[in-house]
């Protein structure tokens, strides 16, 4: 083995070791690197107690309500499994919409309500013209209608999948 090949092997070996070390460290830090936790984890008690943290998920369809004081907005964040009600006083980003991704920072208050101090919109990685988005939405709506008709005919209540256009990953 020539010296330079030895050196190359040494560099390769050192990089492999470094990669494994980095992977182990990152794996150990996993929960600390995550920017937000899901409503399911909050309900399961995995949220930090008495500290601010971030939750993330989708804004549930039809859940955005402005409260009587006129400034507090209340909405439900869902991971399609568990729901969590969020109260927020402040300006919402433009992309904050029902059925879209959201990340909220705040802490748990009494009654299982999450009081947010900051709400960020999380959009997905799809880019298309509005006409194409409408076509996709229409197609999904038709598919959902068909499914509902089939269910009504068959009488078999299958768990309803989320019919909205390509649910964003979060």
């Amino acid at each position: 083995m020539k010296t330079r090949h030895k050196k190359l092997a040494l560099i390769g070996g050192a990089l492999a070791v470094l990669g494994i070390v980095a992977a182990l460290v990152l794996n150990a830090l996993n929960s600390n690197i995550a920017l937000f936790i899901s409503p399911t984890d909050v309900v399961a008690g995995k949220a930090p107690q008495g500290k601010a943290f971030r939750i993330g998920g989708l804004v549930k369809e039809g859940s955005i309500k402005r409260q009587a004081d006129g400034v507090t907005v209340s909405f439900i964040v869902t991971d399609t499994d568990t729901d969590l009600t969020v109260n927020y006083k402040g300006i919402l980003p433009d992309l904050f919409k029902e059925g879209k991704g959201v990340v909220a920072q705040g802490r748990m208050a009494d009654g299982g309500i999450f009081v947010a101090s900051e709400v960020l919109a999380k959009h997905d990685e799809n880019y298309m013209p509005p006409e194409a988005a409408k076509a996709v939405g229409d197609a999904h709506a038709r598919a959902a209608e068909k499914k509902a008709a089939a269910q009504a005919a068959g009488g078999q209540a299958a768990p309803a999948a989320n019919p909205s256009a390509a649910p964003p990953k979060y």
Binding site: H5, L26, I33, D124, N126, Y127, M128, P129
Partner: protein, 249 residues
């Protein structure tokens, strides 16, 4: 060096200097052409986005800059490995010549990302895995340049800088896969090798043309820079004297 592979001839600065000089105008011209085509397609032809409106168009700078910032680092790490293993003179110079462009790309990526994040997400900055690891990449570039500049002997500077580059290379997969591995505010990749792109075709082409433009620009400026570094480092050799006594080309 063997005579079998002719390409090794260009590992010598005296042979690479004129070759680099001859290549610069071609890459520069290609950068201008791809840039004009990409900007035209991206700014004028590509349709409005269904959820972000016109604001998404910053993608035509943001994504190529981010790709470039990661790729240039990989190329520098490659040169660092070659330099450490084979003790070649040119590899350290190549790594040094690429560093400022890589730092510029990382900075552009972060800066355009902040400009994009404010209207869309509602914040300039958030400490999520993607943004933080890209910031670390910028620090790696700056750290490499500072380290190399701080050591007077260029060969030792190359060795120290090369080690830093190789250690930092673990950050690149972390940046790239951060949006897959962890919950982040940053969305996933729209374009990747494992799935079909989730973008309209004209948007995609605009972005790819801009990426080509960034490639060509980076190659052109790196070649210009490596020529200067070659002259500076080899100033006591015959070929530099002959080159400078000639027409300066």
């Amino acid at each position: 060096m063997t005579d079998r592979f002719n390409i090794y001839r260009y590992a010598a600065p005296s042979a690479f200097y004129p070759l680099a000089g001859a290549m610069v105008p071609w890459f520069a011209a290609a950068a201008v052409l791809f840039g004009l085509a990409g900007l035209w397609l991206g700014m004028l032809v590509a349709p409005t986005d269904f959820q972000q409106g016109e604001g998404y168009r910053i993608i035509f700078i943001h994504v190529p800059a981010s790709w470039m910032s990661m790729f240039i680092y990989l190329v520098m790490a490659f040169w660092a490995a070659i330099g450490l293993a084979f003790n070649t003179r040119l590899s350290g110079m190549m790594a040094q010549a690429l560093a400022p462009t890589g730092a510029l790309m990382a900075f552009l990526s972060l800066w355009t990302g902040a400009l994009w994040g404010k209207p869309m997400w509602g914040t300039w900055w958030v400490w999520d895995a993607r943004l933080t690891s890209e910031l670390i990449l910028l620090f790696l570039y700056i750290g490499y340049m500072a380290l190399v500049a701080a050591i007077d002997d260029p060969r030792r500077a190359d060795k120290a800088g090369g080690l830093l580059l190789l250690v930092g290379v673990v950050n690149i997969p972390i940046i790239y896969f951060s949006v897959k591995w962890w919950n982040t505010l940053h969305q996933g990749a729209s374009v990747s090798l494992t799935k079909s792109p989730s973008m309209a075709a004209t948007m995609l082409w605009g972005m790819l043309l801009m990426a080509l433009c960034f490639w060509m620009y980076s190659i052109a400026v790196a070649l210009i820079r490596v020529r200067t570094i070659m002259l500076e480092r080899e100033r006591n050799t015959d070929w530099v004297r002959e080159t400078l006594e000639g027409d300066g080309k």
